[in-house]
């Protein structure tokens, strides 16, 4: 459920061995597509982030684990900030690269 102000959160990291951007999915798995990311309320995001950090570092899976804000636009979820949109898709100046290229 969204928080009272409607803001949702997703949790992201870079995969240790190759640096690829990953997102935490429902159930605790890490996925490469933002579309598969778990969308969490603020209350849900805090403990989920702490657990994800501990797991990612403990398993040598990911680095730079953090949560970011997500909004719904035209029925679809998208990161609020440009930085996170670019991470989720790829460089805006090279549409042939990054996750957007595989979409």
């Amino acid at each position: 459920m969204p928080s009272p102000d409607g803001t949702l959160h997703a949790i992201t990291a870079n995969r240790l061995r190759d640096g690829v951007v990953v997102f935490l999915a429902a159930g605790g798995a890490w996925v490469e597509s933002f579309a598969d990311a778990a969308l969490l309320t603020k209350a849900e995001a805090e403990p989920a982030l702490a657990a994800a950090k501990a797991q990612a570092e403990g398993d040598q899976f990911g680095v730079d684990v953090y949560a970011f804000e997500v909004e719904r636009a035209d029925g679809a979820a998208q990161p609020v900030k440009m930085r996170e949109r670019i991470r989720a898709l790829g460089p805006s100046v090279r549409l042939d690269l990054g996750k957007q290229a595989a979409a």
């Binding site: 190759d18 640096g19 040598q60 100046v93």
Partner: protein, 562 residues
Amino acid sequence: MNHIAPGARAGIYHYDAIDRRFVGERVEQFRKQVDRRLAGELTEEEFKPIRLMNGLYLQLHAYMLRIAVPYGVMSAVQLRKLAEIGRTYDKGYGHFTTRQNLQYNWIKLEDTPAILNALADVDMHALQTSGNCVRNVTTDQFVGAAKDEVVDGRVYAEILRQWTTLHPEFTYLPRKFKIAISGAASDRAAVRVHDVGLLARRNEAGEAGFTFYVGGGLGRSPFIGKLVREWVAEEDFVAYLEAILRVYNQYGRRDNIYKARIKILVHELGLEKFKAEVEEEFARLRGPKYRLDPAIVAEIRTHFAPPPFEDLPETSDALARAKAENPAFANWVAVNVAEHKAPGYAIATISLKPPGGIPGDATCDQMDLIADLAERYSFGELRVSHVQNIVLAHVKQDELFALWQQLDAAGLGTANAGLIGDIIACPGLDYCALANARSIPLAQALSARFADPVRQRTIGELGIKISGCINACGHHHVGAIGILGVDKKGTEFYQITVGGDPTLTTAIGDILGPSLTEEETVDAIEAIVEVYLAHRTEGERFLDTLARVGHGPFKERIYAAD
């Protein structure tokens, strides 16, 4: 191993056994460190400074590996290796930076030792491209070729490379430390916006020496380097620089990253006190141990001996004919070709700024082509400029037309060196984890807006420099027109500065007014250009007109409606 043989080629430093063993050992050391990180024996906190010491950053989409191109000079063989690495381990391209280096944007940690090993095969590495050390020393991209050159900066840049790489006092400086050297009458290396800027000169006896500027830099607190010593003799070159670094190491702040650069130390200590400290240290160091032995200088100079130039007339009839028959080629020569010290030769700049392109990016196919052309026309050697272009420094005037035809066919024949389309732009928010706003789309929009070569030449010398954050990797502070990307509540805005100058008449640009959206910024730059053209008198550059008429007419035009 595919090492660069001296002799028939232009000047490239060729490794000796010690260099080769050292670089090889560092690769093996890093391989083991990566293994330990992947096995969980090193935490990220422990590993991060280690990977940074090997040029490996974590950026938005992946790891970024920054390869050192010492003083921006490399061989065709080395460039081909960079192309091969880009194809094998990255996504078929690389980005040439304002530090005369090359960055790959899509690197895997697990591949990095193999990449460093491949680099070592051609005497290259990624050392001193990150971390709080003396970074890769930069110099004039026309070094060893320019008609106005007095002293060859490569010799001293190489001495500094050897002196700093393993120096125990300089591995954990308060912050990164950037040195630039210029040995020509014109400063093409932006020396006064470096931690140490060196002007290599000659005295009346013809001896080489150096003028030292200290405490320049861009970033969130821009400063112009201050004159610390007018003349340091060649034999004292290392001792004096070591004295500066010792004072910095002792007094530089380590408690606040934003106040840790030497520019802040010079500012807070005061120039006279700083100079006194350096002179005291210099007096202690000066002596046989720190004397730069002329024999060492002479030995290193042999690596940079001039290539075997042919005995040619000063000018070329073939060039004159080709220019007369082909206006586009004539335009490229007028804009991208500079005078060479050897009769019959010329310096050709290959612009990596096609209209609408990404400044500094080159595909691996383009790198291969440039390597081939360097072999064919420039003694197998090329340079990366701090304005993110490539230079073939020793081209016969007779062969410029053939060179241009092949460049043009590959999309590398853009004639805009030093003009408004020759934009410096950092990777910005499209790649960089520190950025607040995108730089590249704005550069693309501006170079497309000003694509017309006739209009560009009408406008004349006018450098636009764009940074995506206050760290100023795009040198916006010293752009005749500078643009800084800022984030305002999640929206990208751009702050325009005018009047910056990276040459010996160094100046930091002034903010013109409130920041604008991307679209407004492109229109505002066009308005600035129109105001300049309306006000300029015969022969005035943009900076001259701005100095004469002030900011008023420009502000009026852009912000009058507000």
